[in-house]
Symmetry: C3
Subunit: 363 residues, 3 copies
């Protein structure tokens, strides 16, 4: 290509260089509500596997988000905290986004990485027992992130591990660290979800487009939503499925005071939704199913002015790029925060928080 | 998955957390027999390629195992020893296990890694000359681990390299660093193999299930076994092949005082075997061949009480998991030790032993 | 393999260990012509994407080559300069050579890497928007190297990036950092190209075997050649194509005082060529086209005694290995230098030159 000077020189266009678009809540405003970190809470993660979002109660989620916010603000230099640790990324189902996010998080806190980008193509996946695979990771790494197409494989693998396992997505089951990124964005956006009690008339209405029963990101997101009954009014599930919850999730929602609605009419519901959680794909057996046009959002959708949209990305046609420049776009902030919340998680799992957090920040 | 608290929290079950099962010989007991490292011996590895197990004589194997044992015990902090070095992992034939083991070893001693997990799918393997590939590694790395489906490729590649090459498995030929891991486990299990003379009636009988002539791990293991004629009585090869040794290995075994037997009846021989070396796969041309039922071991096999089993893993059906919890299981220890013996090898090849070993440990 | 002692022990053969063959110009001799680095020039690279070779003018190319030469000579220890930076290698079209070269360069200056060796096989490439991919790299890395089969993708991606992008080859368009390596070799070979005015009768005649209009390495090499009109006499393009330049390149060459010739008869032209730039492959749509026998060179080709050959490697049959041992072979030096010039580029892009260069070396 023959480029003009401004095209050749990337930095010549300051507007494009700014780059960060959409809703960017301030981590400091979130921390101002509760500046002291509670180590007694975070210590519960020490040497612990993260299989399910059900591991987190409200305190643990909030304290982890606070640690992530401090890291994002650069308050605690943690660049050498995990220098003696190796993270193994074992992606039996490939996922560039999740793998790179974990690798980047590990490198940012000084750790090292070894990776299997696509275990499907290696002997590891061809009839090799999870027992022997577990033994391998015990010997080579200090923590292992696993993504697997089969729901049971991740749970079974922990039985053979001496090191913590982080579930990076197991079939249609769970994706707990994605849910941490989702809620890290929401808690920064509205700190009162974490720290206050929202007056009845302003309690949040959340819309989830997708099927918690068989979409892992949606399931893990909903699981964490149930931790905030005092501040969430209703959760509406928009799905084409006859039974979008499934038995497991229904058990959780039945035990919650938060009202759960079901609807197939997103457009009609937009006027009362404060948060909309979208997802490109329904994981149905071996394939993917895309939602129909009625579940698409664009700049002309009748959203309330302060409604925010979450999406784990990558997106399909369901989320129009015309929304990217608006304040509805919290999904870029959500993606940005993922790498910080994973750093916070890694520091906690290795029990290294005391090494990086000055005592003045401790409760 | 909806998990109970103990399922969610990995560390809640201390028995499972313990994790290490099977026979776990103590590295310290091994070192107590000969605590001083002989640098004059280890220096022979400086700047040297490891193509074949025949590189190692008895002294070199034993001193390398001693260095590995010290590293495993954490006696010498070596976490920054190779900070200025890059290891290239070049797997023209994919092998997750061997690749990650080398990468982990390099990272544990402070080095860095660049990797080709599956060179088959890249231009590198499509008619590109080994000469140009060698030139590439000369420029980008300080040591290269190569696995290749073709026996001759690894040897030929060294002709174009200015940096040491470690053979990570070349076709049906050799896998010398696997053999180092095998013997590191055995020497820890019975230090007298390395340091003493076992009385005639207790000299070891070793059974090898497989075909040294065309199985690289078996070939390299057998090559190192021949270094201990004073302590090994017989080696029995169990194979379905008419000529399991092949010409090259026969030349070695003919020159050795250790008796070599052949048998197709494993079960009948179990009563006298002290060590059994198994392997999942016979590498025959492009395919793999699995052994029949007569060569399988499980908890009901009539093993002597103190017999140990080695297996490079991953296993197929030939080695039943019912043996994992028994003292016959030395294969998990063997896998665990691989990463330590590879660290010892890397430190030796880069001539960095003096940098990490206090003089009090030197002979 | 049963090896003799000298085969087993790689270092036993000093001649082979020497290894570096071909023409090896001295970086110090190049620097002696102009020892002071001009930071005002190199600072132009700070925080800048490198999409096209047209980014470089004569001063910038020469100063970058000087920085590379200092790094190659080990004058400035830069091993920790980029410890807080992550390079993402995003290869939508696989290229082992280019990927490893960038990763190695980043590691040599202390940085860290995350990699997608073959994005074709991941969700990233399947209809995922470049917008979302850009957002991902913004969050996970500090600089991204991209190779892509589509010419426009790399340019488009920069629109969504807040971090610099280095074009690692985009379709049939450009490969600017390869051209930096090419010219780094040539400037060391003849420092007067950079610093002097070659007398008329000795000005260089360059032959390019290939089609600048649709071969990215050739296009980028030619673009940089046009920076030296006072020292280059003629450039002859040897190609089977009717219009080897194409409109874009013709615009550049028309504006240059350097004469451009076209020929299909390489052998007849050899007697007057000082530099020959070869390339294995013509990138034609989805396929590759190999040149015919008339464009091959070997030891019997009638080259002038001091003619040098460049080739980005890997080669096909067009460049015979019989030339490797001769002084015509500058291509191994060119490959060797690539990793140094990429280190210089990374240090400049991150504005870290002042951190590693002692003031005594600054203009």
């Amino acid at each position: 290509m023959i480029l003009s000077a401004s095209q050749v020189d990337h930095k010549a266009d300051p507007d494009r260089r700014e780059g960060v678009i959409g809703n960017r809540p301030n981590p400091q405003a979130f921390l101002d509500q509760s500046p002291k970190l509670r180590l007694d809470v975070l210590d519960r993660l020490h040497d612990t596997s993260v299989l399910s979002a059900t591991l987190f109660d409200r305190d643990l989620l909030v304290e982890l988000a606070k640690l992530a916010a401090y890291l994002q603000l650069g308050k605690f230099p943690a660049a050498h905290a995990l220098e003696d640790k190796i993270l193994a990324a074992a992606f039996f189902e490939p996922s560039t986004r999740t793998r790179l996010s974990f690798e980047s998080a590990m490198l940012r806190v000084g750790g090292k990485t070894i990776s299997v980008a696509d275990a499907k193509t290696t002997g590891v996946a061809k009839g090799e027992s999870l027992r022997d695979i577990g033994q391998m990771f015990n010997s080579y790494a200090d923590v292992v992130v696993v993504r697997h197409t089969e729901q049971s494989a991740v749970q079974e693998l922990t039985e053979y591990l001496r090191i913590p396992l982080l579930n990076g997505g197991n079939g249609s089951d769970e994706h707990p660290t994605q849910a941490l990124a989702d809620w890290y964005a929401l808690l920064k956006w509205r700190p009162e979800i974490a720290f206050g009690t929202i007056p009845d008339e302003f309690r949040l209405n959340i819309g989830i487009i997708g099927t918690p029963g068989n979409m892992r990101t949606v399931k893990s997101f909903l699981t964490l939503a149930l931790l905030f009954p005092q501040n969430i009014n209703h959760i509406t599930i928009f799905s084409e499925m006859a039974d979008p919850l499934g038995d497991e999730i229904r058990e959780l929602t039945n035990a919650s005071p938060i009202g759960i609605d079901f609807s197939q009419n997103l457009k009609q519901s937009l006027e009362y939704l404060d948060v909309i959680y979208m997802n490109a794909i329904a994981f149905l057996g071996d394939g993917y199913r895309f939602f129909g046009e009625e579940f698409m959002l664009d700049r002309d959708s009748k959203l309330k002015p302060d409604t925010v949209i979450l999406h784990p990305l990558a997106r399909g046609g369901e989320l129009c790029t015309s929304l990217d420049e608006t304040q509805h776009n919290l999904y870029f902030n959500q993606a940005d925060g993922a790498v910080w919340v994973r750093q916070a998680l890694l520091l906690s799992i290795f029990g290294r928080i005391r090494d990086v957090v000055p005592t003045t920040y401790l409760a």
